[in-house]
């Protein structure tokens, strides 16, 4: 693999989504690294960039299971520790504890999902804004292609040909 010292980031600013999709297709063909910024999620962009499912679901299920076990454990163990006979129910009355278990399932599941989201999206994102332009949250699509210095001109020409409004070249990996 060539050294990365000469790597540049070519940022193409697009007004139209089909142009952005074309740019992604070409970047894939040339086996170049790319990153796509868009103001909204779009299923075509998703299919073109990351067709596999997101791992957030593992965080959710693990959190939910932890919550379920914890909720019941809290209720059952504290009932056994401080036994209260309430209206002829058993000390550890599992049907009564369903509500507590359920709420803890949802609570831990939700918090775990949030943790998963924040960690997978690398938020708070302070250092990884490569190629970002504030217009990408407003109404423009951005395709950032990383390539070695020698290929920069070709990539720039390719993006212009596809129909980029603007092409910038920046340093960085």
């Amino acid at each position: 693999m060539a050294s990365t010292k000469n790597y540049r980031a070519v940022v193409g600013v697009f007004s139209y989504i089909d142009d952005a999709l074309e740019a992604i297709k070409r970047a894939r063909l040339e086996k170049l690294d790319f990153r796509v910024y868009s103001p909204v999620p779009h299923h075509e962009l998703e299919d073109a960039t990351m067709p596999k499912k997101s791992p957030v679901r593992f965080f959710t299920i693990l959190g939910a299971i932890t919550g379920l076990v914890s909720g019941f454990a809290l209720a059952i163990l504290t009932s056994l520790d401080y036994p209260l006979r309430v209206s002829a129910k058993p000390i550890a009355a599992v049907p009564s504890f369903i509500v507590v278990g359920f709420e803890c399932t949802i609570l831990f599941g939700g918090l775990a999902t949030f943790l998963g989201l924040v960690s997978l999206c690398r938020l708070p994102d302070v250092f990884r804004k490569l190629g970002f332009d504030p217009r990408f949250t407003q109404d423009k699509f951005g395709v950032v292609i990383g390539c070695p210095g020698e290929q920069v001109d070709d990539v720039v020409a390719g993006l212009r040909e596809i129909g980029a409004d603007e092409v910038q070249v920046r340093d960085g990996i």
């Binding site: 910024y37 103001p39 075509e44 791992p55 401080y82 209260l84 509500v99 949802i106 109404d139």
Partner: protein
């Protein structure tokens, strides 16, 4: 196509563009005028009234409120259930309708979610307020202590603690997650330094790259899936505060669906109360259209019918049961000393919304605004009916008595509206009250070449 600043008056044929959505919504965040400050001031005054009343109650004891034998739960719990109910509708609109892919939720759900979070914040005050000795509130929580005590997990009051706390946490998280991309839009459109800092921090540096969107859409779906059972379960748990007792008029299995339907009913009405002025003041006519109001009115009609059916069922069950105490309670409600609350509730919840069957009224905003306030009054009266009327006429004559309203009660209720209003007023000025990203998502993406065939 998309980024020209257009001074042309938009017509219905001209579709919304991303740019227009950005500008319309971000304009809401402009420097506030004196009107906003006035609204904030009014809300703060109401909070002040509430704070004064509550302080008096803490210093002089719970007797300052109207609570006394036999109405040991009075308007505080009524107002608690009222606010929790309003909160549920927000989650219904944002999470449940998301799972059903109902497009009509798009312009209103952000405001509905905000309403949820602030209503739960308001509701959460009431279990504290209605305790005489507020300083012992932490006894509700399971914490290890030297007396080896644990709370009673078999009690619905404790289930309520878990349910409402979970609901507050999950709704707030859902709300914050949904706001992140929109705050990023505000950050990138911000001009002043303070706003850039505020939005820069609160957007957590969101850039909207493809990986972030992928994880975001997945997480959002899971949040919606987790929040959906919460809508049903939390208000069911609140209903069990009453249904798990043996008080006549409370001990009924219809309570959970009855309460959930009532919650959605009052919440949608509150969304209408909030969105009509906001739409007019901030010029959101192109985003919140008459068809959205039409859809909300249909939800109101549905839930009003469910409620009417539930009231009839309660009366029928009481009669059919042949239980003299249950029958006495349901005779007392329409014909007893506090009958005005019952008939007010019937008018506001069952008869008044019937006019919404007439289509032109469903999109008449002045009428809808008044109707939504009538509905909320009716829903407060419904909770008053359930709670205070049942307690006022229990099994034996010793347990019969009227509720004594005190000014402290009224002050605290006003304070709760002020508290809710204060948070909403602050929110609409500092954060986007309409979901920019999701509205852009339902617009057709800008294409150079017209799309051939559909996905």
């Amino acid at each position: 196509m998309s980024s020209k600043a257009d001074a042309i008056i938009s017509t219905d044929e001209k579709p919304l563009t991303y740019d227009e959505v950005n500008r319309t919504v971000l304009r809401m965040l402009d420097t506030p005028t004196w009107r906003w400050y006035l609204l904030l001031f009014i809300n703060l005054c109401l909070v002040g009234v509430g704070a004064f009343s509550w302080t008096r109650q803490i210093l002089r004891g719970i007797g300052e409120s109207g609570k006394s034998h036999p109405s040991m739960w009075g308007v505080y719990i009524t107002t608690f259930v009222f606010w929790v109910g309003i909160a549920h509708s927000g989650t219904l609109i944002s999470a449940v309708l998301y799972l059903f892919r109902a497009k009509f939720r798009m312009p209103i759900y952000r405001l509905a979610e905000a309403m949820t979070v602030f209503a739960v914040l308001t509701a959460g005050l009431f279990p504290l307020i209605h305790m005489g000795r507020v300083w012992f509130f932490y006894w509700l929580m399971p914490y290890p202590n030297q007396r080896a005590l644990w709370p009673n997990f078999k009690s619905p009051l404790l289930w309520d603690v878990f349910a409402v706390s979970t609901y507050l946490t999950i709704s707030s998280t859902f709300f914050i997650v949904g706001l992140i991309p929109d705050i990023a839009v505000a950050r990138d459109g911000a001009k002043s330094g303070f706003r850039k800092l505020l939005y820069g921090v609160t957007s957590l540096g969101w850039t909207g790259n493809h990986k972030q969107w992928k994880h975001y859409t997945s997480a959002y779906l899971f949040f919606a899936a987790l929040a959906t059972p919460l809508v049903v379960s939390v208000h069911s748990v609140v209903s069990w505060d009453f249904a798990m007792s043996i008080v006549p008029g409370w001990h009924a299995t219809i309570f959970p669906p009855y309460f959930v339907a009532g919650a959605i009913f009052s919440g949608v009405a509150m969304v209408i109360t909030l969105i009509i002025p906001i739409r007019a003041i901030f010029g959101l006519e192109r985003i919140v259209e008459p068809k959205h109001f039409d859809a909300m009115c249909k939800l109101i009609l549905l839930t009003s019918s469910v409620l009417f059916y539930a009231y009839v069922t309660e009366f029928y069950t009481a009669w059919f049961s042949n239980n003299p105490y249950e029958r006495a309670q349901f005779y007392y409600r329409p014909f007893g000393d506090q009958a005005i609350a019952f008939w007010g509730m019937m008018f506001c919840n069952c008869f008044a919304p019937l006019v919404l069957w007439y289509k032109p009224l469903r999109t008449n905003l002045v009428f809808l605004f008044i109707m939504s306030i009538i509905i909320n009054i009716g829903m407060w009266l419904e909770r008053f009916n359930i709670i205070v009327q049942s307690l006022a006429h229990e099994y034996i004559p010793y347990s019969w008595g009227l509720y004594n309203f005190s000014w402290v009660d009224v002050g605290i209720i006003l304070g709760s509206f002020g508290w809710f209003g204060m948070w909403m007023t602050l929110f609409i000025k500092f954060f986007p009250a309409v979901s920019i990203t999701e509205i852009k998502e339902i617009l057709p993406a800008p294409r150079r070449r017209a799309q051939v065939g559909h996905h």
